[in-house]
Amino acid sequence: MFSAIYIEDEVKDSERVAGILARFPDIPHINCERYGEVFNRKRQSFRLQKQAPALILASKHGKAVLPAPAGYGFTESHSFYFSHMLNCLYDCRYCFLQGMYRSANYVLFVNYEDFASEIRSQAQQVDAEQVFYSGYDCDSLAMDPVSEFCAFILPLFDGLQNATLELRTKSTQVRALLDCSPIKNCVIAMSFTAHDAASRWEHRTPSIAKRLEALLKLQQAGWNIALRFEPIIMEQGVEEAYQQLFAEIFSVLDADQLHSVSTGLFRMPSGYYRNITKQFPDEPLFALPTNSVDGVISLRNANEAERLGAVEKSLFNYVDSQRYYRCAD
């Protein structure tokens, strides 16, 4: 599963770390002073490293909870995100993480208590509804069997009435959720792209059918579930591809019980995009002509808004528009 496990000196005596290491006795355990020595060093190839990533167990210093980027998520104000993990088990070619980090290794910050403390403190600062997004710099659930983060963080939100937790994922690792009672202020948001896009660009991810199966179990167990259709890449036939995907999804899930549904187009900060094109110069997706506006790269498509409108129209055959939002450009 990992080529090695690096252990930051600060956490080497932690019980949580001991538990993780005990589960992987045959993988090399290597001590390091700070995780940046391994993760942030120069001259790394994200692409080659992704073939056999290592796990780095570390302590998160500084702010653990940050304001969510504008337009991220389903509410305009009081949105925050936190990253108990950096990088993702999956290998989605369109993912901005490939350009954000020099390393494809996974960093797991094991000082969960510090995340909990900051979330609690933030939630208590104002009475208004607040949303905390997990899964911005990682997949929220993919590594859960190793991290056991869900089992730690869910009880916290159970006690925070004005705070909602969104777990963004493509994973089917939902056992920790199914093992406990649903928490009304927790949303499991599953990401999808259409079949052709998924087979071309989503590597090592569970199939659409498996994701749906996991979502159905969660919905039947009473969990709030949400659907995230992004990034939509406007290729020829995309309208029909999403029409087919929506038909498949809503033949399984109860659309009236969904927490929210969103779409988002392919967008990426230009610096990340530049880094990715250096790693993947042979990838057709990154060879397509682009536009750059205010430091954000988008694919140059004719009638993009109109075509997204057509995708939305298909979606509204199943979903009440009140539950829908479009991720900001």
Binding site: A4, E37, R43, R47, L48, D282, E283
Partner: protein, 270 residues
Amino acid sequence: MPVNLVIAHKLEALPLIDYFGLQPLDDGGPASIYTNGQDIRLIISGMGKAASTAGVMRLAGVDSKERDRFAAWLNFGIAGHQNLSPGTFFSAQKIIDRTTGTAYYPPIGKHCEQLSDLISVDEPETTYPANAGYDMEGSAFFAAATSISTTELVRCCKVVSDNPDYPVSKVTRDTIRDWIGGCLAHVQSVVQELTAMAEEYNRAHALPDSYYVLQNYPGISVTQQHQLRRLAQQLQALSREPVLQELAATPPRTVDQLFAHLRLALDASI
């Protein structure tokens, strides 16, 4: 694409030269380079950090004649060790420069059955204070090689020559030859793994010959050469190399016209 082997001493290098069928690339000098004429080069760098750095740089100078390609790098040789037995082959999982305290973390390859920390020292270590290997080149080699190549293509492997029960005073030419000779299959496995990775990396970054023709277009600026490179990558990724080939065969009259053609071809792929 070559794997560059950086070996401190001729005694350590000879079994490898024989095993890989290497021949001298030049007529001697401060450091000697050997090659099989294909994918393996070896330099006898001399002992110590400065010599190892110089050896890497000298081989990199040979590499620079090969356009736009990364080589893989391997440092191999004997090392003392606190716990491992003489003759044991190991890969460095962490290299510490004892003088500066800097730590390096080589990637863990598929053929790394035995791993160990490696401490690079300035003088031979005879007391072996830590559970680690001791050499005199690893840290400098790794720093130099990763300044040229990508970290995933750089490794440092050693064979144990001495330990507290078998002091360095007992090490002879024959024992070195035997221990190095006993590790050749391990070295070959690492070389094969590095070769495969380097080939994959270079294949992804390779550009068509027509790009190199256009790169020398009269009057093209350095900035335009970078732009041309990216456009050539894009067209190649979109299976539109014929556009580059046509332009290389019958170049437009001006650089501006060249770029106009290339951008038009790219836009046509939308």
